[in-house]
Amino acid sequence: MSMTLDNAMPSAAFGPAPVPVVPADPSAAVSIRGLFKRFEKKVAVNGLSLDIPTGSFYGLVGPNGAGKTTTLNMLTGLLVPDAGTAMILGHDVWSDVNRAKRIIGVMPQPEQIFDRLTGMQLLVYSGMLRGMKRAETVKRAKDLLAAFDLEQAAGKMVADYSAGMTKKVCLAAAMIHSPRILVLDEPFESVDPVSSANLKDILIEYAHTGGTVIISSHVMSLVEKMCTHVAVINQGQVCAAGTVDEVAAGEELEDRFLQLVGGRHAAAHLSWLDGGADEPAAQASDSEA
């Protein structure tokens, strides 16, 4: 547990966490201190603090409802925190939200895009919304469609895309303005293996050139393979953070994750869930055979 910053101790269930002891780090790509968010009676993020170094490929992992998406939303200016600060490349997110939004590239969820536009239109729209010039946007959109194997579908409405293609075009929309930080929520979900291998290459290449990638994911093997750093989030707090090796502490990351998060129990024996072995029909057909 030495990797956590200042809030490893589970604090009381309600009320903002104590004032952070370690000040925010302006040299980091992302520096979060004491972030807190409550939805009615449920505390979603409970005084979370985290530093993400520039140029890292950072994975956020945690069980469902751990607070990953809420944290990312507060970091990217899409949700106002109840308390705490978030800093991107030395700039406080909430003192000038639009400036922060222009530095980062957030991948929209498939239902958060205008899917009646064609793939090409969507990318041009995404670029022009960030104030890019049309000519440059069109050029980059073509490059991105080629890189994501979407050239054939460039003129089709995104609503007619498959789930994986939609995911890819969402990712491309987040990259078109060449942001310094990419924030991706479950980027590989429903993407086929070939495309996802190509996506990974693009992301790794981007991180090598100094860009910072932050992904949230459930797929532990993927995080272990691609990420340089990882933070395990549970119940709205960071319970371990650091390089993948540090967090794994000599074990498989998945085993370590289960230890940290808990909740795994012995297989419950459901006597009636028997794959049909004592169905009369099944027995009858067996005896006929």
Binding site: T76, E111, Q112, Q121
Partner: protein, 544 residues
Amino acid sequence: MNTVLTIVRLRWALTWAALRKSVWQTIGYVISMLMGLSVVVGAGVLAWFLGDSEVVGQVQGFAVGLEVAVVLIGSFAMVMTAFAQLMLIGESSTMSPRRLELYGIPDRILQAGLLVSGLSGIPAVCATVALMLWAMAYRWMGAGVVITAVIAAPLAVITLMSVSKMIINAATTLVKSNQGKNLFYLIVTIVFVSVCYVPSITLNSSADLDGFDVETLAAPAAVFAWTPFGAAFQLPFDVLHGAWGPLAARLAILAATWVLCFMASTWCLRHERLVAGASTTAVSLKGIGAFSWMPDSVSGAVSARLLTYLKRDPRQSPMFVFPLIFVVLFALQAHGVTPMVWSAMIMSSMFLALTESNGLAYDGRGLTMQAISGVRGVDDRHGRVRVYAGIIVPYMLILTVVCFIVTGDWRTPDGILMGLTFAACSTGLALCSLGLAEVLSCVLMYPVPSMDKPFSTPQGRAVAQGFFPFVQILGMFVLMVPTALVGGALLLSGNGDLYWALIPVGLANGVGFLILGSWLGGKLMDARMLSIIATVDSFASLQK
């Protein structure tokens, strides 16, 4: 039967759950119950007075008049309700057959369950009770007639429900492609608006025939009485006339209608299930469309996106057809009074920006892209105003030309001046409306159906949908007060013939509030962007 009852129970369980979850839903529900109750009470009271034998004796030809009126009004109400179901209410999103398809319920039972659950709803129950109370109006005709009317009440409601369900099913199942939906919705809207005007045009054009003539209406009433729409209303009168043959025939017509509608609906369900997900022809577009010629800026991107959507959105495009329909309808009723035709332009300007007053809800969750990219509110408002003003101004010009041609007012200088004044004030009103819409769309949002299913109702829409557009319509007239004041001053000072001064005043009035509205809307959007996103997210969950 068991499954049918389960579906009915499910419907009510879902309703209760929605009521527990949202105060607004509860308020909406209470209001609709009060409305239902007032219909029931109104029908009862009216029937009580009309059925009084003293009243009956005083009016000559009362019996014939009542028969014709009941059948005609009843049929008209049935047709209108079926249409309105399609346009406004559509397939309920809570009880969509698609949500139940995982359970392997046979199509027939599922269809029966949906029909019965529809009949157990408040509108159906209220209508049945109201029609049953209406039987009191017949009490001077004898017990047999009253009993028949009481029995006919549920028959009429079942017929209406069967026909509505069948029409909705057919519309959802058969109109598949996006272009098809767009066109279909447009046609339905035009037909609906035109049919709404039929009684007014008929009465208007027979007005010179010295009073209202029952004889001329008896023939269409007799025809309607043989259709599923009017048959149930004719049944009590058949008993009165002792026409047992026609009574039996009409009952057979009703029964046949139910069976046919049920079969058609079931066929639609099966068709839907079997061919669902079959490939629809995807449209392919070369280039980037509007994105290539709109200004090269953030607001240009907003404009291009909005224009592309307006073209592909069956929920918003009918609004742009209304103005033309109004001119045609007003011209039909004008009888040579040309200001009547010109006033259609004022009606038109009310509608052109009506959907824009809820524009962000029509955009839906896609709006998140703007939030992610940090688009300033003022850029968004400029982008939207560019598109709408670009539609409104040329449209008003075209309507002006059309009105000049229709009225022939271009022949005289006075006519030209009057026409131009109407045109300028209407354009000013439309621009005021747009300016107001840019403010209201950030504040008063209400749920809209999803683009994929323009005929469906998002839950809990009724209250807000009735109230918020009213704010927009009322507000745009308030904003035109400066022009009205100038007009009033001219009249009071005896300078009424200087009315053409309203041309520049009306236009300046419109442009001024448009500028003010876009600026204020931009500020509001900056301040409220995250709550706007949260609101459209919550609307999206209502559409599922």
